[in-house]
């Protein structure tokens, strides 16, 4: 157990959200204005200034003088947004807000030039998921929000590898953003869901029974996973990470979702810290969450992330052998024609590997150019000199089979046997 102070962070776009979140125990409010915030589920596009932020900040401080405040500037800004960011910076000074959260790391350069007194928190949403990347951004950002793709084990490693001064936050609860597009997809449908801000459910025909949320506003289209991320059942793991803040995202849901989650995370964490040995989550507590949630509650990739593991295995295997050619024509019992892709000698240890992965030893007794000129089997073949060659037909010599040359490393592996599948 490591956590010293539990900081619960949540989003607020309205006076009501400020009030309900602080009353439910939030320590830090991320204030939003839809002109520069990507997905507040609140429409500020009709206003031309950011005075709302000062109003929200003043209200928050009147209710909870010690609460922390930041602004969420998480659009991917284009050059035409830069004057608006200037305008925002001026308003933040009036509101005495000195922390800004960004998705675009490039904004670190903007703030360095134009508002160097602002401290920044990076929430990339995607990427920035290895130690080296996070280490680089430490010089630019006071804190970083772990992306949802990083499993707990990797977060532990990153935290250990980086300096103790590093601050990390994590979304522990709420909808998972899985796509961000500037294109207003919904506006092109014949059915007129064409308001500037629109929320619909969707179902992918390839994955029936899963319902995704589509949210469109003037920044474009956002798609959410078919479940909410919920780490309510993982409080001990979260405490062990010793993060600087836990983010509860209730945007798009009734305020009761946010306030219920804030209270639950606070209560469970306090109970765990007081007595970790006897701690367990009760069915009543799970039921309380289920009563305010509309989607399944899952940990996402917090426990493990095995996406694309087969690709990594494949790349490791590729280093123990060399593909030197590919069969481009096969006339059974007569000829196979091979496109040479890498230099090799007919004297090398060779095999034919079928597209299904079956391997057959290949011995070359005679060979010909594609124009039927005999070639010496003592020659080294290369793609430049002998792009195409012909061999007598051999088993496994079907089109798209590969000609494999084994390197010395392979000698420690199992011997090749006819038809063996690797």
């Amino acid at each position: 157990m490591k956590l010293s102070t539990l900081k619960l962070i949540t989003y607020a776009s309205t006076i009501d959200q400020v009030k309900s979140s602080l009353e439910a125990g939030a320590n830090h409010l991320i204030l939003e204005d839809s002109k520069l915030s990507l997905r507040p589920f609140h429409d500020d596009f009709q206003t031309s200034d950011f005075t709302k932020i000062t109003l929200l900040a003043n209200h928050a401080r009147s209710l909870s003088p010690g609460c922390e405040l930041s602004f969420n500037l998480d659009i991917l800004p284009h050059n035409h947004h830069l004057p608006l960011i200037h305008q925002l910076a001026q308003e933040l000074d009036k509101a005495f807000i000195t922390t800004v959260r960004v998705q675009d790391p490039g904004l670190a350069e903007w703030f360095k030039e134009h508002a160097p007194h602002i401290t920044l928190i990076l929430n990339c949403e995607t990427g920035n998921q290895n130690t080296e990347s996070i280490r680089y951004y430490q010089d630019h950002f006071k804190a970083q929000v772990f992306v949802n793709d990083i499993p707990n084990k990797d977060m532990q490693k990153i935290i250990t590898e980086l300096a103790s001064s590093a601050q990390f936050e994590l979304q522990v609860q709420g909808p998972i953003l899985i796509q961000n597009s500037p294109r207003p997809f919904l506006s092109g449908l014949t059915n007129p869901h064409t308001d500037s801000t629109t929320v619909v459910r969707s179902q992918d025909h390839e994955y029936p029974g899963r319902y995704f949320t589509f949210y469109q506003n003037p920044h474009g289209h956002l798609m959410y996973a078919y479940f909410d991320k919920s780490l309510l059942k993982n409080i001990p793991d979260l405490v062990a990470l010793n993060l600087s803040g836990w983010i509860i995202d209730g945007r798009g849901y009734p305020d009761t979702y946010t306030s219920t989650c804030l209270k639950l995370y606070r209560a469970l964490t306090n109970r765990y810290i007081q007595n970790p040995d006897t701690y367990e989550i009760t069915s009543d507590e799970i039921k309380k969450l289920d009563e305010v949630a509309t989607l399944p509650q899952k940990p996402g990739f917090f426990k493990i992330n095995q996406t694309d593991q087969d690709r990594i295995k494949k790349s490791k295997a590729a280093h123990s052998e060399t593909k030197v050619g590919i069969v481009v024509d096969s006339i059974k019992g007569e000829w196979i024609s091979i496109q040479v892709t890498h230099p090799f000698s007919p004297q090398d240890t060779l095999a034919i590997m079928t597209p299904e992965g079956k391997r057959y030893p290949l011995s070359i007794e005679e060979m010909y150019s594609i124009w039927n000129t005999p070639l010496s089997i003592t020659d080294t073949l290369s793609p430049q000199k002998n792009a195409l060659i012909k061999l007598k037909w051999q088993k496994g010599g079907q089109v798209k089979s590969a000609l494999i040359k084994y390197s010395e490393i392979i000698e420690t592996q199992s011997p090749i046997t006819a038809g063996s599948k690797k």
């Binding site: 947004h81 092109g188 481009v328």
Partner: protein, 432 residues
């Protein structure tokens, strides 16, 4: 033998030969009024394998981008082994071309561990650039290699300050997000000394590239580590949250049309953007040859001859399988006109038949991908810029046996008097 008398020799208007990039003096009055010289932008082509790389170079590309076996984003492309990469770089160097290696996945720590030894190998191979989207990978590559670093479009750099950040991090070039307009590129070029690259042709992510993880959460495939299942091409039911808003609608709601920027070549050239990129490492030989030769011709004809009509080029590009076209974000933020809601199916005017693999005198050997009959009207996409139409009089299989119809995935041999060369493409117009 091809019946030369019936041959159609239609040439895309182009000039120059192999290795045409560089500074071109423009002597017309109109040109001298605003620019004494224009630098031809690099034409950058996709190469899923060594053959496509050679096709791209022979048809006019200045550079190719390729994936290695480690950490590219196109898991389902053939990708290059280390030795194939060496061959590709050697071939490029011999011909005054460049090869960029994509390392554009978002790395987890486990990926970084496998990447370090790969970088040591790549440093010896010495490609002309790495395409990188992950800041950690960039720092590792900067530390371990001397290869030029290009920030991938996957990093979704949309503004001047993103370019500054990546430049300070070590990037020589930034490949901007596909939503950035040519006008914005000009503004960046005005104040920042950095090479810019933009996509001009091919399929597009519906999302900001690198900002989509749909596959991760639906199929367990990492969109940003080469496993994208293209969920954006799927059909979706759109269900209003309030039934009074209308019935459920079914649509390919996120199916982005392909990008075609050939009509914007003048603006692209004048903007000073260094590199124009064609998407499609998983696309066919025909796609590579057709797109490269068409953009080569368009760039050359604008720079050399101030040609500003590009209808013929657009028609040529439309012949190859596509999902209809838009100009993406090159001239304005893409809207509903950039989505093909009705279907994820492609449309095309020609089928790829095959690729010329060897030529000796009048004898030609071609690799055939799609069967055709001897009497079918076929068309050669020549790397000289020509398009030849004709019918074969005779053809044989590789045992020398005359055949009336080819198989699929096989070699054939035929005679011709046409100036066909290795890496020319054979296609067949689709009967309407």
């Amino acid at each position: 033998m091809l019946s030369g008398g019936q041959m159609t020799n239609r040439r895309l208007p182009r000039s120059g030969g192999f290795g045409r990039s560089g500074v071109v003096k423009v002597s017309t009055l109109a040109a001298s009024q605003h620019l004494a010289t224009v630098r031809k932008p690099e034409l950058l082509a996709p190469a899923g394998n060594i053959e496509k790389l050679k096709i791209a170079f022979q048809h006019g590309a200045d550079a190719c981008y390729v994936g290695g076996t480690v950490f590219g984003l196109r898991k389902f492309a053939d990708n290059f082994s280390d030795s194939e990469l060496q061959n590709a770089v050697d071939y490029a160097n011999e011909n005054g071309k460049k090869v960029y290696v994509v390392l554009n996945g978002y790395a987890h720590n486990s990926d970084i561990e496998s990447l370090a030894p790969h970088l040591e190998i790549l440093e010896k191979i010495k490609p002309h650039g790495f395409i990188i989207s992950d800041m950690g990978v960039m720092q590792l590559a900067k530390k371990m290699t001397t290869v030029d670093l290009h920030t991938s479009t996957q990093a979704s750099v949309t503004n001047l300050y993103g370019c500054k950040l990546w430049k300070n991090a070590g990037a020589k070039r930034v490949i901007l997000a596909r939503e950035v307009s040519i006008e914005d590129c000009k503004k960046i070029k005005e104040v920042l000394d950095i090479e810019l690259e933009v996509f001009v042709h091919g399929a597009m992510c519906a999302s900001y590239s690198g900002k989509c993880v749909i596959s991760n959460y639906t199929a367990g495939r990492d969109s940003n580590r080469g496993g994208c299942i293209q969920s954006c091409r799927h059909k979706y039911d759109i269900i209003p949250t309030n039934p009074q808003e209308g019935p459920t609608v079914t649509s390919h709601i996120m199916n982005a049309k392909d990008l075609m920027g050939v009509s914007l070549i003048p603006q692209l050239v004048e903007s000073g953007i260094e590199s124009l990129k064609i998407e499609g490492r998983m696309k066919s030989n025909l796609y590579v040859a057709n797109a490269v030769s068409t953009y080569r011709a368009a760039i050359d004809d604008y720079c050399d001859n101030r040609q500003t009509s590009f209808t013929e080029y657009e028609n040529e590009l439309k012949k190859v399988s596509n999902r209809h076209f838009s100009t993406g974000g090159l001239d304005h933020m893409p809207g509903t006109e950039s989505i093909y809601y009705d279907s994820a199916e492609g449309t095309k005017g020609v089928d790829l038949i095959g690729t010329v693999k060897a030529v000796q005198g009048n004898q030609v050997i071609a690799e055939i991908k799609v069967p055709f009959y001897k009497d079918d009207l076929i068309e050669f996409v020549s790397q000289s810029g020509n398009r030849y139409q004709d019918r074969l009089i005779s053809m044989k299989n590789m045992s020398g046996i005359p055949i009336e119809k080819t198989g699929q995935n096989c070699l054939i041999q035929f005679e011709t008097t046409l100036p066909i060369t290795e890496f020319d493409i054979i296609r067949k117009p689709i009967a309407i």
